[in-house]
Symmetry: C2
Subunit: 100 residues, 2 copies
């Protein structure tokens, strides 16, 4: 599962899609496809990969589908990594601590 997330994030178009859906919640696949030069089908495949990684949640609405961003998988990855590499992340946390 963590592998699906890293895999999904590996393609720049897919990260762009995430960004767009994040700032345009409920958008359709057509709107997403319009962002790119490549074909609608190519974009649809990217969307499917993001959906499998649970980075996008999709809800059917009539003949379109509404797309929503889901931070959860990224949060999971982040938590696991910061736990493992806490020694590195402790520095910024401390400065934040001081700020608080």
């Amino acid at each position: 599962m963590i592998d699906e997330v890293f895999q999904a994030l590996a393609h720049p178009h897919r990260r762009q899609i995430i960004d767009f859906v994040h700032q345009t919640p409920g958008c359709s696949s057509g709107e997403i496809a319009a962002l790119f030069e490549s074909s609608r089908i190519a974009v649809a495949k990217h969307i499917k990969i993001l959906e499998k990684a649970q980075l996008l949640l999709i809800e059917k609405s009539g003949r379109t589908k509404q797309h929503y961003f889901n931070i959860m998988p990224i949060q999971t990855v982040y938590d696991r990594w910061t736990d493992q590499y806490s020694q590195f992340f402790s520095a910024p946390l401390n400065s934040f601590k001081n700020y608080v």
Copy 2:
């Protein structure tokens, strides 16, 4: 550059290499290769990809090379993403704030 990092993190072996180097600073490419069933050359290619993404720093020492993990690129990615998705990350930050 951010693309190279995501790309580098996409392969499970490369993430394993990062983990190993992180807990075995200064290790050689031979030691890293010994972790995997696949050939030394295949692993060397993974190491090169990690080096290009600056996730590994390499120092020559006699006839071996010492490998070190570099959190910086991940930190950069993390900073950019948390900035962009701050609304999601604010929740845990707030709970941390309360804790502090």
